[in-house]
Symmetry: C2
Subunit: 456 residues, 2 copies
């Protein structure tokens, strides 16, 4: 797991610049570094001390309000009362684990499974998306008897040893163990499949994955799984053309591997078209059905809960040979929070809101692109939106330095968002799903002003 992270600029606070902070902030940063050690990072040149949240708004220690266009965990909005009430009520009564019978977890599991293709029959609960991905790989390897895993160039699938090993975005390509192969991400802005001799992006991407599987085989490594975040968040948010994952699904099945859809980021309605990000890569007549789905982040609106969802076939041998217990996984309080989230997503029609507001936001950003030549591309699905910044007059040369300036400029203008992509030149807009058209307008107005300020 050794590996150097990329040097140079980043959107994180540089500890060497602590003296540029106001004394109270500097003191808290100093205490934090002393207590938490050197591996932690803080967002922004000027870290934000958040003390309160409500809906799409966060408030710092001075009472200053920020528009949150970043946090996909508080998907229903910060401090949603339905989640708070559910958590309080359950915490005051009981919080135990899954080796006692409990009606709540069974009811939630049935409800959750009803939102997924019927082939995905079982759900196993963990606390984090990392644990869900780790368990998914354990089961995929047990099922296939193989170890080989294929991921995309800048994939991120979590922080346990096993999923960090399939996350080149963490430690770089040098950190990948011999059982991992990477393929370029299906980036429609930068890849012209026809010029490369393929019918479309899907065929091109499937060919990359097939080549990786063949290379594993040539090295005597049996193929276990292809793993992809269905929105390719850390590869730069790659959504279109919808359907481009269908051919790779077939390649994985033919090779006897497991298709693992990492829905930690796109799941729970964010992509607007459907509850799950992979759905838009299938159709009514040919639905897209992964063998395993992992979910997490927004599942409990901040309460730790995640899950691995599987076809009975994939988990059969594991269930026979091993047992599974995760002390906090599926605890009664986290499940109560998750049930509230699922209820509110439906009642408040948040998937529909993501679709409508996301489309508006992309249209406004597209208009902005006509006035700011640095905006090379605007893309996304629902409320998962990307704005790619390039050097004008070049062939899409990524402008990381400008991107970091924009992120910090927006932070000064009280709009919070982050970056994505292998070149770190993509603005990642991923707000709570209650984001309104007015919020989208505020974001676009502030981005417009920030770009003007920076001469972009």
């Amino acid at each position: 797991m050794a590996g150097q992270r990329k040097a140079g600029p980043s959107s994180y606070f540089d500890p060497a610049r602590i003296d540029t902070l106001d004394p109270r902030t500097a003191e808290l940063v100093r205490r934090r570094t002393d207590a938490l050690g050197p591996a932690y990072r803080l967002f922004y040149e000027q870290p934000v001390q958040i003390v309160r949240g409500s809906g799409v708004h966060l408030y710092d220690a001075n009472g200053v309000e920020y528009l949150d266009a970043y946090n996909n965990v508080a998907s229903l909005g910060h401090a949603h009362p339905r989640v708070t009430d559910a958590v309080c009520a359950q915490a005051g009564v009981l919080n135990t684990h899954t080796r006692y019978l409990h009606e709540g977890i069974v009811r939630y599991a049935e409800d959750l499974l009803s939102t997924l293709p019927p082939e995905l029959g079982h759900v196993m609960f963990t606390c984090t998306g990392s644990e869900a991905g780790d368990l998914a790989l354990r089961i995929a390897k047990h099922h296939t008897g193989g170890t080989g895993v294929v991921v995309t160039r800048n994939a991120y699938h979590g922080v346990t040893t096993e999923v960090a090993a399939i996350s080149p975005s963490l430690g770089g390509l040098d950190s990948l163990p011999p059982w991992v192969r990477w393929v370029p991400a299906p980036d429609a802005y930068r890849i012209d499949p026809v010029a490369l001799g393929y019918a479309d992006l899907g065929e091109w991407f499937a060919a990359q994955v097939q080549a990786a599987i063949d290379d594993l085989a040539a090295n005597g490594i049996r193929f276990a799984a292809f793993v992809a975040d269905s929105i390719f968040a850390s590869d730069g948010v790659l959504a279109d053309p919808a359907g481009f994952l269908a051919p790779v699904r077939e390649v994985v099945a033919r090779a006897g591997g497991v298709y693992l859809a990492d829905e930690v980021q796109p799941g729970f309605g964010r992509t607007g078209d459907a509850m799950w990000g992979f759905v838009r890569h299938g159709s009514e007549t040919a639905p897209f059905v992964p063998d395993i789905v992992t979910i997490g982040k927004p599942m409990g609106n901040g309460m730790p809960i995640a899950a691995t969802i599987l076809t009975p076939e994939v988990v059969a041998e594991f269930g026979r040979d091993m047992r599974y217990f995760n002390t906090f996984g599926g605890n009664a309080v986290s499940v109560a929070a998750a049930q509230a989230v699922l209820d509110v997503v439906r009642e408040e029609r948040l998937q529909e809101n993501a679709r409508v507001v996301g489309a508006s936001l992309r249209a406004m950003l597209g208009e902005l692109a006509t006035r700011h030549a640095v905006i090379g591309d605007v893309r996304g699905a629902g409320l998962f939106v990307a704005v790619e910044l390039v050097v004008p007059g070049t062939d899409r040369e990524p402008d990381e330095a400008l991107t970091l300036k924009v992120v910090n400029g927006l932070r000064r203008r009280r709009v919070l968002l982050g970056t994505a992509g292998i070149d770190n030149n993509v603005l990642k807009v991923r707000p709570p799903l209650v984001f309104s058209r007015t919020d989208a307008e505020r974001l676009v107005t502030e981005l417009d002003a920030t770009l003007a300020e920076l001469g972009g």
Copy 2:
């Protein structure tokens, strides 16, 4: 990670016996199996459907009250109002992650570190003990440049791929990868170190670990870490003689490895003598100081929170080369729960209660042993107590069948506890730390009656 679990009897519910359950319970078990799949287990021949908890008591769907002598997670007692209040208050205000500044996590980290030896300077937050152990191994391997890990025969350190690989209690010895070596556990009831040519149990144990390290070296595997749960819970609860871990600590340091104390089970005052289980293996003049400590289970009284605590030296390279972020690790709500737990452990003097009530309980169980020949040994520290059952008239032959009957007999008498040990013949008594002398008397009375009933 393939590997067969032990066949034969277990303390889990056998799904083939679903028709022996009352119709309502059977229906919930059936729905649960359909939704959660084949890898989940339920405690007891007759699973318990818990709906409410308070202090040391749990209540089932029919309102029947049980004495909880099993659950170490709800260490302050079930549904402790201080934890509930802290969780409600924080959930209603803000629940974000560690890339914004937050006073709560810094204050808690400082408070937690003040309970540990000063050499352990940094704390990194995860959601589960499994994640804490996984992160600890990632860091230990990064620090030492080695991969070799030594554990005990029936160790359990968690469920991620990495820590499941060092947990022979999960998949058996056949499941251990080439970089893991196991040593017999330091079992004072079964091992006579003097007869084996050693001064004491500590010297004997250190020699086993040294031999394992030598064997790694002989196979070209560089030693990274020795990992031990300081109370050896799954090896059968091995506490005495206090101090027996001191020699192995030296062996590990001399070999250039990391000593990882897994305090997920013994931590937070349970062993009675100190806040942390490893402390009783040192002395005032020669304190016992691990390089890394992992904590979890009782840390948030059921809210998912765990941590990896390290010396600055061990984490320096990792902090330089990698970044660390765990979305839910150290979230504001879990930290608020953890702060309440630490406050209550001190204010209600739970460590002292564990020491006093634990000693009483062991004394009463010792008296019981004089009347029931099946009780081979009574041992433990604080409120982590073991009762080992053997076949009378034999040389300590383990009686697993009787042990399972006792566990199920006690469940019928409304006392909940579990089993431990490689031969599954040890009753594991590990109640919430608010367990009183009266609760201890009730436990002993019911165990007496159960043993009498079973002819033991």
